[in-house]
């Protein structure tokens, strides 16, 4: 097909689709925005849940501070839980703020890169946040026991050291598996790790970023 024919076909195609679709823009009044907002709701609810989650950790730490703990180990555990809670809140607020600040009137590449970057950071944040649970359960347990004035480190240090060792081994094992799967000739393992550990969403987010950058840089 020659280019002129293609342009004619393009016009015909649009005329047909427009007539057959019978989409009326007159329908789009303010209340139609509600439908669009409802589609954005899952992301919004996800961020609200994270805010709530972070708030729970902060409240747990505050409850511990109200008991005026004196043991250094309990105080350190409280600080860790408090910081984690604040980090959850800040991360959720940053994603919500980042998305709401995106002005779709920017150039296509600029906006698509921003969206891909927000998504990428969100997913990486989720993975890092998830991995911390190899260790995070220890300070949480210490804080919960600290609320009833029990110092876990004083009574059962083996739980803490044993848990930390398990966390180190588990995390190191995951990192080793990830590095091992990247070596040439291990495509099946790589696919398994990508789907089970890294997640397809991160791959897609990375692919989108790469696509945008490649489109911007491509020259003759």
């Amino acid at each position: 097909m020659e280019l002129d024919e293609m342009k004619m076909a393009w016009e015909t195609l649009n005329q047909h689709l427009q007539r057959e679709s019978a989409i009326s823009l007159a329908m789009y009044t303010d209340h139609k925005l509600t439908a669009v907002r409802s589609r954005l709701r899952p992301l919004f609810i996800g961020q609200l849940l994270q805010l709530f989650f972070g708030l729970c950790f902060v409240l747990l730490a505050v409850a511990l501070w109200s008991t005026r703990p004196t043991a250094v180990s309990v105080i350190v555990a409280g600080v860790v839980v408090h910081v984690y809670g604040i980090a959850c809140i800040v991360a959720a607020a940053a994603v919500m703020g980042g998305i709401s600040r995106i002005d779709y009137a920017g150039s296509v590449l600029e906006i698509q890169e921003k969206l891909a970057r927000v998504r990428h950071s969100y997913i990486v944040g989720g993975i890092v946040g998830g991995l911390t649970w190899w260790f995070l359960w220890i300070p949480i347990l210490m804080v919960l026991l600290g609320l009833v004035h029990v110092n876990l480190y004083a009574h059962a240090p083996s739980v803490i050291w044993g848990g930390t060792a398990v966390g180190v081994v588990g995390l190191a094992g995951m990192l080793w598996l990830y590095a091992h799967s990247r070596k040439p000739g291990r495509e099946r393992l790589r696919r398994f790790v990508d789907e089970a550990v890294v997640g397809r969403s991160l791959q897609r987010a990375q692919a989108q970023l790469d696509e945008v950058r490649q489109f911007a840089q491509e020259q003759a």
Binding site: A9, H16, A35
Partner: protein
């Protein structure tokens, strides 16, 4: 004042509604998806309208928003459906060509070609088919005019080779 701005928006939207339809047609082949996308584009246009600078061309502003919404919409849909669906005229809302089999075949080949393109390339193809100037395409996409020229030459070669 608010009503006046609203009326102004409606008038501009009516006179440039073809942009909304064409972008929706480029990114969605199913009737329901097209309607959803068109709705989302207009909603974003309306939301961005208070920040529109009248010193800048309205069509450039409109294309930017419409294409950004469409590309995000397509990516969300791909995530939702997990895999992209290959072109299949039995499930696509293929336009007919008024009983002319040759013209109908051309339309199908064109639709299939458009759908094979990545979202950003599809934006370039749409703007090229709409006879937009290289400067305007560069402004809408956010790349240099030289890059636009290179990409259009490649696109022309691809069209000749594949259609």
């Amino acid at each position: 004042m608010h009503e006046q701005r609203g009326a102004q928006f409606e008038a501009l939207l009516q006179s440039h509604q073809g942009i909304v339809f064409k972008v929706a047609n480029t990114y969605c082949w199913r009737h329901d998806d097209r309607a959803d996308l068109a709705q989302e584009i207009v909603a974003q246009l309306w939301r961005a309208w208070p920040r529109y600078d009248p010193a800048r061309p309205f069509t450039t502003w409109m294309y930017r928003i419409a294409l950004n919404v469409a590309i995000s919409f397509v990516r969300k849909e791909v995530r939702r459906r997990e895999t992209s669906v290959p072109f299949d005229e039995t499930v696509h809302d293929v336009a007919s060509a008024g009983g002319d089999p040759a013209a109908g075949h051309r339309l199908q080949r064109l639709q299939a070609f458009i759908e094979r393109q990545a979202p950003l390339d599809r934006a370039l193809l749409l703007l090229y088919l709409e006879d937009r100037s290289q400067k305007e395409i560069a402004d809408i996409l956010g790349i240099t005019a030289t890059n636009v020229s290179t990409k259009i030459n490649r696109l022309k070669q691809k069209i000749r080779a594949e259609i």
